[in-house]
């Protein structure tokens, strides 16, 4: 059995991981989801998370890092509590995606892949998020926000600041 003594994850996530590695024909198939779920809980994929995931899957830490570095959603440094991901790909660009990105930069006072000093928001310019027909669009953590205008972005940011935004784990 793969249960890890002194897991760095919450008991719920540790139990989920215990189960996850058993459901596939190969244990290693759990790797990509585990990295993402670990990041959801910790805010980023820490060295300790890499070590524990390697132990759980029974592969080298190097193999974990090899996969970790490939996927654009995975990060090895903390982001803000709310990571704002603005799409500027073609459909969003045509409907004002760059205007939205610039507005976010000005409002939050941060650039691409930067976190505001208070740690509440971080910003990221991302490639197509699959919301082309409701452009311009962005995600805050995992929540989609469509048909954006700068005014709508202001309202959304205020909602998140007031604790009315969702904090999706």
């Amino acid at each position: 059995m793969s249960t890890v003594a002194n897991s760095i994850f919450s008991p719920e996530l540790a139990a989920r991981f215990d189960h996850l590695v058993t459901i596939y024909p190969l244990r290693r198939s759990a790797l990509v989801p585990m990295l993402l779920y670990a990041q959801d809980e910790l805010g980023y994929v820490s060295d300790a998370a890499v070590a524990e995931i390697a132990e759980r899957i029974e592969i080298l830490e190097l193999d974990v890092r090899n996969v970790l570095s490939y996927y654009s959603m995975l990060r090895t440094k903390p982001a803000g509590k709310y990571n704002v991901q603005v799409c500027t790909n073609i459909s969003c660009m045509l409907r004002g995606g760059y205007e939205i990105l610039d507005h976010c930069k000005k409002t939050l006072g941060v650039g691409h892949k930067e976190t505001a000093p208070d740690g509440v928001f971080s910003l990221e310019e991302v490639e197509c998020i699959g919301a082309c027909c409701w452009a311009p669009a962005m995600q805050i953590n995992y929540d989609f926000h469509d048909d954006l205008t700068p005014e709508k972005v202001d309202v959304l940011f205020q909602m998140y600041r007031d604790g009315q935004g969702k904090d999706v784990k």
Binding site: V32, M73, C128
Partner: protein, 439 residues
């Protein structure tokens, strides 16, 4: 939540349950859900494959391969387990159709997965969603759990003695993983780099076993086809292009949205009638007809039917059905640069022509865009793109080269005038924005 749209010309097959609460299993059952899979169990694999072949359904991910034929390629006897893999890694810019399927009718994807499994003799299916679609993954996970609770999945489904399981999987951000062999790598817990073919997945796929991999929309069509009959579905479309498909119309149109139209429907009507015409009464400049990788069509090339063969004859592709509409204000130089910037960002680096080609095209177009280009740069871009074509393991290299070639061939004059200082279109981005940002 994305708004649903409708138009009188729509023919609703796959979208027939959209907006009706069919993510709820009881509602899905009420709307003829899980009837097709029981017919499939009763009638057997040969009947399923014959019906799918008769339907003329072709892969909705973009390649347009006949689905029934794909299923028939899987060996009947295999030492290794066989698998069904549903590709919901929807990442082609301009494409958001699977998004609405997962949102409104997740059980159709599950039922379709089971039908594909029965057709090829598999007992395990995977539904892989891109990492960004977490809220949709939760909807699909709940639907799978509800199907297990009803005895529709697991051991002895519907009391027939047949076993079938489904595992849902999340990606973590990678366009490349939408390519079938890269998706298998990702599902095996590796970097999403493509595999050489042959062997094809139908023979050696996931975990080395014979695998059917289909786009989510393709799979979700299967229950509808079995219920209505292959011939009836085929009749909705054109010759060799059966049925209907979801078209996501985005960009400069009055009513962007995902519409279900018969195969062969006029591109002009899709833009001017279904999507309400060009936004703010402007003029049409160009259309990227099937996701970012499809060669552009100019405003006078849109009298073409939306099926795989007619679009092929028109020198482009039906692709993923993501129609991106550009009005007269768009600078093609800028649009071409933004397109290649995407492919350069997403190239996994495995094949040199793609890794270097996308990088050099982006660098060259950036120089042009920045005002420092020469006319020879346009030739260089074309040369680079032509030499990427067909020289990579997976289609990402082609996907980057094809739209680039379309832009420089069809809008060469605009590139040259831009270089000479006469710039068409209204710039949306500065070079600083492009170079300094996430690309």
């Amino acid at each position: 939540m994305p708004a649903l749209v409708s138009h009188p010309d729509e023919v609703k097959v796959i979208s027939r349950r959209f907006g009706m609460g069919a993510a709820d299993i009881e509602k899905y059952i009420e709307l003829d859900g899980y009837k097709a899979v029981q017919q499939a169990i009763a009638n057997g694999p040969a009947w399923i494959i014959d019906t799918m072949k008769a339907s003329g359904l072709r892969g909705r991910g973009g390649a347009g391969f006949p689905t029934g034929m794909k299923w028939s390629f899987v060996p009947k006897v295999s030492e290794k387990p066989k698998y069904v893999l549903v590709n919901g890694d929807e990442s082609e810019p301009g494409t958001c159709k699977d998004h609405v399927i997962f949102l409104h009718d997740p059980h159709a994807v599950i039922e379709g997965t089971m039908i594909a499994g029965l057709a090829i003799g598999s007992k395990l299916g995977f539904i892989y969603l891109r990492g960004e679609y977490r809220y949709l993954l939760k909807i699909v996970e709940k639907a799978v759990a509800d199907a297990y609770a009803k005895g529709f999945l697991g051991k002895n489904i519907f009391g027939t003695g047949v076993d079938f399981d489904i595992i849902t999987q999340t990606g973590a951000g990678a366009y490349e993983v939408g390519e079938e062999s890269a998706l298998m790598e990702s599902l095996e817990g590796k970097r999403g780099v493509p595999r050489i073919k042959p062997p094809f997945p139908a023979v050696v796929g996931l975990y080395g076993g014979p695998t059917v991999i289909n786009n989510a929309e393709t799979i979700a069509n299967a229950p509808h086809i079995l219920l209505m009959g292959g011939e009836a579905y085929a009749k909705l479309g054109t010759e060799r292009n059966g049925g209907t498909r979801l078209f996501g119309i985005s960009g400069h149109v009055e009513r962007p949205g995902v519409y279900e139209l018969p195969m062969g429907y006029s591109l002009r009507k899709a833009i001017y009638e279904v999507a309400g015409g060009i936004k703010d009464g402007k003029k049409l400049k160009a259309v990227v007809p099937g996701g970012a990788s499809c060669p552009v069509l100019t405003a006078d090339e849109i009298d073409v039917g939306l099926d795989f063969d007619q679009m092929g004859k028109a020198g482009t592709m039906l692709g993923s059905g993501g129609i991106v509409v550009l009005d007269e204000t768009v600078s093609i130089v800028e649009f071409a640069l933004r397109t290649i910037a995407f492919y350069q960002h997403e190239s996994c680096g495995w094949c040199i022509p793609c890794r270097e080609g996308t990088d050099w095209i982006k660098k060259t177009l950036t120089r042009v865009y920045n005002g420092g280009g020469s006319r020879k740069d346009v030739d260089n871009v074309q040369y680079l793109a032509e030499n990427m074509m067909g020289r990579t393991f997976c289609p990402l290299g082609d996907a980057a080269a094809m739209p680039t070639l379309g832009f420089v061939k069809k809008f060469r004059k605009e590139f040259e005038e831009y270089i000479d200082g006469n710039r068409a279109g209204t710039p949306l981005i500065t070079v600083e924005q492009l170079v300094g940002a996430g690309h």
